[in-house]
């Protein structure tokens, strides 16, 4: 059951969590060695006054506590300051990159669920059969294979050897698709260009598979375990004894109950996908937020990294909340 008040309570708990994250990220960025001004200017000719001017421009001449309070105050109004290197508002730079990341994450999630859940069910129902064995091996491989390595293997096979799929990017260069939602799969259809839609899909496939495979493996294992558990329950035996068709027993009685842990894991894993994005986006030249953050860390782009990590944190916490709410829907015994 879900009480509306409980929801408000949970949302209020967000406040101290976000404050804590903001503080930690801020301090960690400051503690990382390397001066953004020196990194930007390198060995180049610049007078001390010019270096100082740039430091002032970046707001780095103020004392640390003051900078944190400024950052916090501005963040409340969703103003995250200027990105050092883009020299534009951080919020703008992040928003430009966000749709690409969301599109990739959703695609990976869809692949993971579409592959992981049915495979887990079949593996449990046909326990110790060949599908089960194959799924176990694939599951182990999926969880243990590092994303960057898998990505490069897929590129070498499908792009360089076979030439079926593109190496990088989101879409080809045949023409501009007017941005409406920022999601290319939707925008190409809105523009009435099925050809471009297919092209976007081709670009999406390899990165989404790379990103989604580990999650698919995990979902498969969780679903298999909980399905095995459910199949042993008395109500399943009873339903079978009643003479209900096998399919109905499996889906309505066993799977529905077995899905509860799967849903939780899926929601939390979607948060983990955001971290995996940093690697996959770099390998596939995907113009998303993950890559932006990686570059931001290397160039000590404090405002950009701080804002992005806060965004990740909010997403992660909200996904957890969503998992809890889904639990109450799937299992009325669970209360928020």
């Amino acid at each position: 059951m879900m009480r509306p008040l409980a929801l408000v309570e949970r949302l209020l708990q967000l406040v101290p969590v976000l404050f804590g994250i903001a503080l930690v990220v801020f301090l960690m960025m400051q503690a990382t060695p390397g001066d953004p001004v020196e990194l930007m200017l390198g060995d180049a000719l610049a007078t001390p006054e010019q270096r100082e001017a740039l430091r002032r421009d970046m707001g780095l001449d103020r004392p640390l506590p003051e900078r944190f309070l400024l950052f916090l105050g501005d963040a409340l109004t969703l103003d995250f300051g200027q990105s050092f290197h883009h020299r534009r508002p951080v919020a703008d730079v992040i928003l430009e990159r966000l749709p690409a990341t969301i599109e990739l994450t959703l695609a990976a999630m869809v692949i993971a669920i579409a592959v992981g859940v049915p495979l887990g069910v079949v593996a449990a129902v046909r326990r110790d059969g060949w599908i089960d064995r194959l799924a176990t091996i694939l599951g182990l491989a999926g969880v243990s294979m590092p994303g960057f390595w898998l990505g490069i293997l897929l590129i070498l096979l499908f792009s360089v050897q076979l030439g079926w799929l593109p190496v990088s990017g989101r879409i080809g260069f045949s023409g501009e698709v007017p941005p409406v939602t920022g999601f290319l799969l939707i925008d190409t259809l809105l523009a009435g260009r099925p050809q471009s839609f297919l092209e976007a899909l081709r670009h999406l496939l390899l990165p989404a598979v790379t990103l989604g495979l580990a999650m698919a493996a995990l979902l498969m294992r969780v679903t298999r375990t909980s399905m095995l558990e459910a199949l042993r329950q008395d109500y399943v035996t009873f339903a079978t004894a009643k003479g209900l068709p096998r399919r109905q027993v499996l889906i309505r009685h066993a799977l529905r109950n077995a899905l509860t842990p799967t849903v939780t894991v899926a929601a939390i894993e979607t948060g983990t996908l955001l971290g995996g994005n940093m690697i996959v986006e770099t390998v596939f030249g995907w113009p998303g937020l993950g890559r932006l953050v990686v570059e931001g860390i290397f160039t000590r782009n404090y405002p950009l990294v701080q804002a992005a990590v806060l965004l990740y944190a909010v997403t992660y916490v909200l996904l957890n909340l969503a998992a809890d709410i889904l639990q109450t829907v799937l299992n009325p015994k669970v209360r928020l």
Partner: protein, 508 residues
């Protein structure tokens, strides 16, 4: 008949429509942060922007400075330069380039707060320009507040913008919708993904000293960001891109072996060397420093660790640099001589020293350490975090470390950007503690000498002293390596690292 006319009209309107369209794609290693030529400090960003914007002066592939938007350029006195504008140059919007645009461009770069309250981060690349003054319809004067003889060498870093256009679109517009006088005009910027440009048919032709002069020879150029080196190589091999920068060493053989691709290289602008702490034993003695310089087999390290992609250095100046002294004897690898010099310096039984390095250069430093150890300079390598090292070494009199493996980049290839900071007494990059009054005198004289031949002579003399006194262990200058399709012709990488594709062509 009518359909034929329509077809002809179409062909005229779209000269690159159909099979003849030539599109060149560049797989680029780092992101392009803005398209405003005055609002960044990123060489890769400049590399892309420079295809849409030209500068007053440019450089040839062998780094000679020549006029580009200028018809002529001359120095009037130590603090005044004059350019005569090439008449009839058109911006991409059809308007004509005037002296007003030149003045505006340099005011925007040099005046505090000139960019809607902000100051250009490229200000230090213009030097002490105090005023930019129009003289007549085609002449502009640059008045400097102090002599700065490298002014012409730094002009290629700063591209010319349109006054009317900047005033119309503002800084936001400049960042996203560039409009210049370059060989290609802007089509689309997909953030984080690519910049697309097309040929500008009314291009004036580019620098008169760099043939062929004329519009670009390809119809479309795409800079596509592929940060992961393995993916960038894969994109080249799959034919998705025609040119990639930062080709990783391990992929060189693969790219060379492929019948459709080739490897291109040029000397870089970053010199590698080891600072000796000259303020304390044993490296306060010239002979010990000379011994170390003779103990390192540079060619072996270059061949084995750097895949042959570097040139050995005699001092810290690149062979492509202004003022390079070609008459100095390169350091001969001679362990016997090294041992002899070490004994003469008072260390017949050798000496124990430390070599500080940060992680990326560990392998090279260890190879050097092994060679030093062989002649009796028993070297222990210590790994540090880069920034910690820089802080520690800032003042060599205040620590008891011996050697620091590092590098210094100099994009303008003029000793002002490398010789002065690294070896002039107490300058900002002088970590060896080296101090030589004669070297200081020569460098200071060159700083303000308007006569370039005399300036060059000062630097040559200073290099001769450095070669003798060996305040550093001079190592090598790595090359920039590119991978390209064999179809790409008439393009050579330049030490500047700028991928300008004005003259490039694609063979069928």
């Amino acid at each position: 008949m009518r359909s034929r006319i329509v077809a002809a009209a179409l062909a005229a309107a779209l000269p690159w429509a159909g099979a003849a369209a030539k599109e060149l794609r560049v797989g680029y290693s780092a992101d392009i942060v803005t398209l405003d030529p005055a609002n960044h400090r990123s060489r890769v960003t400049e590399g892309a922007i420079h295809n849409m914007y030209d500068a007053v002066l440019t450089r040839t592939v062998d780094m000679k400075v020549v006029p580009e938007l200028a018809e002529s350029f001359r120095q009037i006195d130590a603090k005044t330069y004059e350019m005569r504008l090439r008449p009839g140059v058109k911006f991409h919007d059809g308007s004509e380039l005037t002296v007003e645009d030149i003045v505006f461009t340099f005011d925007r770069l040099t005046k505090d707060g000139a960019m809607e309250g902000k100051t250009s981060p490229r200000k230090s690349l213009v030097g002490p320009v105090a005023r930019t003054v129009p003289v007549d319809r085609l002449t502009v004067r640059f008045e400097l507040s102090a002599p700065w003889p490298v002014f012409p060498a730094y002009l290629p870093f700063n591209q010319v913008v349109s006054k009317a256009y900047v005033e119309k679109v503002g800084s936001d517009g400049m960042a996203t919708r560039p409009m210049g006088t370059g060989p290609f005009r802007f089509v689309e910027w997909r953030r984080g993904d690519s910049v697309i440009m097309e040929r500008f048919p009314d291009y004036y032709g580019g620098a008169a000293d760099i043939p062929p002069v004329g519009p670009a020879r390809i119809d479309r150029v795409i800079f596509k960001i592929i940060p992961e080196p393995a993916s960038r190589v894969a994109a080249l091999l799959a034919g998705e891109v025609d040119l990639i920068d930062e080709l990783p060493h391990h992929a060189i053989r693969q790219v060379e072996a492929n019948p459709r691709t080739k490897v291109l290289k040029s000397n870089g602008t970053r010199s590698f060397f080891i600072d000796f702490n000259t303020t304390r034993p044993p490296f306060d003695k010239v002979k010990v420093r000379q011994a170390a310089n003779h103990a390192v087999d540079r060619k072996l390290v270059i061949d084995r660790i750097l895949s042959g992609l570097a040139v050995p250095l005699t001092t810290l100046i690149s062979p492509d640099s202004f003022g390079y002294n070609p008459n100095l004897e390169p350091w001969r690898y001679d362990p016997a001589l090294a041992r002899k010099l070490l004994a003469e310096a008072g260390y017949p039984n050798g000496v124990d020293v430390t070599l500080d390095v940060d992680n990326p250069f560990k392998e090279q430093a260890e190879a050097v350490a092994a060679m030093l150890t062989q002649v009796g300079i028993r070297t222990k390598v210590q790994l540090w975090e880069r920034t910690a090292l820089t802080d520690l070494w800032k003042d060599p009199t205040r620590h008891d470390r011996h050697m620091f493996f590092r590098s210094w980049g100099d994009g303008a290839l003029d000793p002002v950007g490398i010789f002065v900071p690294v070896l002039k007494t107490k300058d900002r990059g002088n970590f060896s503690g080296y101090a030589n009054a004669e070297v200081d005198r020569l460098l200071t004289a060159a700083d303000t000498e308007p006569d370039q031949a005399k300036r060059s002579e000062y630097y040559r003399k200073a290099q001769a002293i450095i070669r003798e006194e060996a305040p550093l262990l001079f190592l090598w200058l790595p090359q920039d390596v590119y991978g390209a399709s064999r179809k790409l012709v008439d393009w050579q990488p330049s030490p500047r690292g700028i991928v300008k594709l004005h003259r490039a062509a694609l063979a069928d």
